[in-house]
């Protein structure tokens, strides 16, 4: 499947100038572009270690032997690949009131996939109900990912939390995790999910995707708001003052999450579907090379 139309040559060029950089070193499975905690071959000097029988004599620092009359081995930081985890929320709220939110999630996922592909990183996808820990790597990573995401539909019957846990049970290598959702669910459930991810020693990055209507709903007189996931009905009498009240509640909700994320070193980004994809990628994904 081709990439979405929003992936213009300009956007791809912009993405090529960016990179996903983990805030801490993760062990990789093969050589790559990220510093690894593993010592071995590399360019950047790490430390010295006393020679032990069996060490390669070529690694002995002879200058140090001359000065100290002891044998030390010179060690370097190894550069390995990174495992990028993608956790996408495909609950009913992502498909309501239209598919705009899910489309933006897919675009962001593909952008992350493209970056991973460029850095020769591996990518592991978790879409509850559809993919549990499916891995992608290689040059065609982004296209395979696009094909798979095209199959994803809203599945309200899926148990998101259980699938999320299952997805990380088999994960041997921690890495950078992008968790994309609207985060308008029960906060306790979301926090439990965060705990699951943080327990895996992931560099967790959260991208909250909202619609403009969720930030400020349209004026009506009377309405019954029906939760797209739970079906719960909330009767409302929306007036100008209740809209102000909504804004206050929404801002408080956002602020709570941001503080929560800050305390747990979770990178929190929020965007809405009306923003340009290039702008979101610039601010949310990685840093410039």
């Amino acid at each position: 499947m081709p990439l979405p139309e929003s992936f213009t040559p300009q956007l791809l060029r912009q993405l090529e100038l960016q990179q996903v950089k983990a805030r801490k070193a993760f062990l990789g499975s093969r050589q790559g572009a990220h510093y690894s905690p593993k010592r071995g071959h590399g360019i950047e000097f790490s430390d010295f270690r006393q020679y032990q029988p069996g060490d390669d004599l070529r690694h002995i620092d002879w200058n140090l032997v001359a000065r100290s009359e002891r044998f030390y081995i010179k060690r370097f930081r190894e550069e390995q690949d990174l495992l990028v985890h993608l956790i996408l929320d495909n609950s009913a709220s992502m498909f309501n009131p239209g598919a705009a939110k899910w489309n933006r999630v897919v675009e962001l996922a593909l952008a992350i996939g493209y970056l991973s592909s460029m850095q020769q990183d591996r990518l592991q996808l978790a879409v509850p109900g559809h993919f549990i820990g499916k891995k992608y790597s290689g040059k065609n990573l982004v296209y395979k990912l696009a094909d798979d995401l095209n199959l994803v539909r809203s599945n309200p019957t899926v148990t998101f939390d259980a699938d999320l846990k299952l997805s990380f049970t088999a994960t041997n290598f921690p890495g950078v995790a992008y968790y994309i959702s609207d985060f308008l669910d029960d906060p306790e459930k979301i926090k439990a999910n965060f705990q699951t991810l943080l327990a895996r020693n992931l560099d967790l990055r959260v991208i909250q995707v909202l619609t403009p209507e969720e930030k400020l709903p349209q004026i009506g007189t009377k309405m019954i708001a029906i939760d797209s996931e739970t079906g719960q009905e909330v009767p409302l009498e929306v007036t100008a003052s209740s809209l102000v009240e909504y804004q206050k509640a929404f801002n408080a909700h956002q602020k709570d999450w941001q503080e929560y994320a800050y305390q747990r070193q979770i990178a929190w980004y929020s965007c809405d579907t009306s923003e340009k994809l290039a702008d979101i990628c610039r601010s949310v994904l990685g840093v410039s090379k």
């Binding site: 009377k222 708001a225 209740s242 509640a249």
Partner: protein, 596 residues
């Protein structure tokens, strides 16, 4: 303040409309079920508006209710008038109102009616808030849409002319709808034959019969002769004088070349023709009844004492055959080569006035509804009744034979053996030529200068006739019909009627829609000068012998609607206001939505 509706029936629309509006409003007020991605934020809201919002009126409902009310009022024709007395006046100013009311007065009926109107204003409408004046001539028209002050109207009342009207007062009133509340007075020369009320009456100063003389027409004849038709609408025989002004064309236009006069006698309600010989080069004539010695008792209207006529260029003679058969079948083409024209009876009925263009008309098996104003031969065998009624005689026997008649030259009764003949009762001016069983079957007559022959047996087809006596008789008849013409069948003229006096020209200034005054009008087109005579004779206007009565318009009960009073001056404003409000509500709605 008088309030009302011109079409109150439309107010019934209010019930379904308001019902619909309430339904729409309630429906709009019902909670709309809407899926949202999450209700987590909505749950934190207070679900009820605060007190201030609770008592806030549903302004949009009332706004739309107001808008609907305005539209309904406009449809129902809402009107209001400030309190006061309003007076609607219809002044009949048709020509008959120019008649002098009685011999003792020199003022005409219209002037006396106007004086009566002013008296009525003093007596009955002292506290007059507004008056609306409508005239009947030249066509029914009011001076203003609404009511005017008495001061604005009174000065114009003295300048109303009596002029020919396109519609009679009877037809005008018949088409009007008048509400009972309207103060309406009609000033006319009609008498009312229906009950009158205080606020609805017909006023007239005329009380009885009036005599009048009128020139009805001027006919130009073939032998340089014009016949002036004079109708005497009088109750006693009169003898008066008529003048004929002959006009020639020169560089200045038309100029009087000769004035002739002749006496005429007329019995009550008789129409007489006075013949005048004119020169070859006369272009127009004006006939006028000499006013000298004529009292208003026998001639109440002077305006119809003059008539105009244009003498057109010399044309070749023409004979008209009115027949159901073709020209070839008639066999008359050999008698009138190149002069004969055929019309069917239906075509002739459609344009009977065209008959004046022909010097001879032959009616074949057809009796016209009136005698034409040209010489004519009526062959009445087996024809439907018209101006004459015929009776069939089988195996007739000739009982009298006028040897002196030029029609019977070279003929004797032995030459004829009729199978069937049709006799007729003829007017007194016919002379019997042949009678059968003492009933006229052939007769000749003079009606002024017009020659007539009644022919009660088949004439056509002429060529196929085996009876040579019939052929000789017919040729004798045609010769007699053309006998007086030096240049037979050589002129063609137009018949015109009544004339307008100078005073009627004022009507142009008042109404602005009077096309042309009567007279001879010179027109130039493509460097060719044409003259047109225009007259406005109407027997209805000139005949004052009959005292006409009229029924007042029917009052429309249970209704405020009146055609006369413009009670609905606010209709347009209401509609415009409603539309503006509708537009404003649309923009407010759009703005509100955009803001949201």
């Amino acid at each position: 303040m008088n309030l009302g509706f011109t079409a109150p029936g439309f107010l019934l629309l209010a019930f379904p409309a308001i019902g619909f509006l309430i339904f729409a409003y309630l429906n709009r007020g019902q909670a709309k079920r809407q899926f949202v991605s999450s209700t987590i934020i909505f749950k934190q809201l207070k679900n009820r508006p605060n007190v201030r919002e609770k008592v806030k009126l549903p302004w949009r409902f009332f706004y739309e209710l107001l808008l609907l009310t305005l539209l309904l009022l406009a449809i129902a024709g809402f009107y209001w008038q400030s309190p006061g007395k309003y007076w609607q006046v219809i002044i009949d100013n048709s020509l008959s109102l120019s008649a002098v009311a009685d011999a003792s007065s020199s003022r005409n009926i219209l002037a006396l009616n106007i004086a009566q109107l002013k008296n009525d204003r003093q007596d009955r409408f002292k506290n007059l808030s507004g008056i609306k004046v409508c005239l009947t001539a030249p066509s029914f028209q009011c001076w203003s849409e609404g009511f005017e002050s008495w001061e604005a109207v009174s000065s114009k009342l003295n300048n109303i002319p009596a002029i020919p009207a396109n519609d009679s007062l009877e037809s005008v009133l018949g088409s009007l709808t008048i509400a009972p509340k309207v103060n309406l007075t009609i000033y006319s020369d009609y008498l009312s034959n229906s009950r009158q009320s205080n606020n609805f009456r017909l006023s007239t100063v005329r009380t009885g019969e009036l005599g009048n003389l009128a020139i009805t027409e001027i006919i130009s004849r073939p032998n340089h002769t014009v016949s002036v038709g004079i109708q005497a609408f009088v109750s006693t025989p009169i003898q008066k004088k008529v003048k004929l002004y002959s006009l020639v064309e020169n560089s200045k236009g038309l100029e009087v070349a000769e004035i002739k006069e002749a006496n005429f006698k007329a019995n009550p309600e008789e129409k007489v023709f006075v013949d005048f010989k004119i020169f070859n080069n006369i272009r127009a004539v004006i006939a006028e009844i000499d006013p000298a010695g004529i009292s208003s008792a026998i001639d109440a209207i002077s305006a119809d004492n003059i008539s105009y006529q244009v003498i057109n260029q010399q044309v070749s003679a023409a004979v008209l055959l009115v027949s159901k058969n073709s020209l070839a079948e008639s066999g008359l083409e050999a008698v009138f080569p190149g002069k004969l024209k055929l019309l069917s009876p239906e075509e002739y009925q459609a344009v009977p006035e065209d008959a004046q263009k022909y010097s001879l008309i032959i009616f074949d098996n057809y009796i016209p509804s009136k005698f034409p104003s040209s010489n004519h031969l009526i062959v009445a065998s087996n024809a439907e009744p018209g101006v004459l009624e015929t009776t069939l005689q089988r195996s007739p026997k000739i009982t009298s034979w006028d040897k002196e008649s030029s029609l019977l030259r070279y003929l004797s009764p032995d030459n004829f053996s009729f199978k069937n003949v049709w006799s007729a009762k003829l007017p007194s001016w016919f002379q019997p030529v042949i009678t059968s069983n003492n009933q006229t079957i052939l007769a000749t007559g003079f009606q002024g200068p017009i020659r007539s022959i009644y022919w009660g047996f088949p004439l056509l087809p002429l060529e196929k006739s085996n009876n040579q006596a019939l052929a000789i008789l017919s040729l004798n008849a045609f010769k007699w019909l053309e006998e007086e013409s030096q240049s037979p069948l050589s002129f063609q003229g137009e018949t015109l009627a009544y004339v307008l006096k100078d005073q009627q020209l004022e009507s142009e200034k008042i109404n602005g829609n009077w096309e042309l005054a009567a007279g001879i009008i010179q027109s130039v087109s493509e460097n060719k000068v044409n003259f047109i005579a225009k007259n406005f004779y109407s027997e209805e206007e000139s005949n004052l012998l009959a005292v006409r009565k009229i029924a007042l318009p029917i009052l429309t009960r249970n209704s405020d609607k009146s055609d006369l009073i413009n009670t609905n001056p606010n209709l347009n404003q209401l509609i415009w206001l409603a539309w503006l409000m509708l537009l404003a509500s649309f923009f407010i709605w759009r703005k509100g939505k955009a803001k949201a």
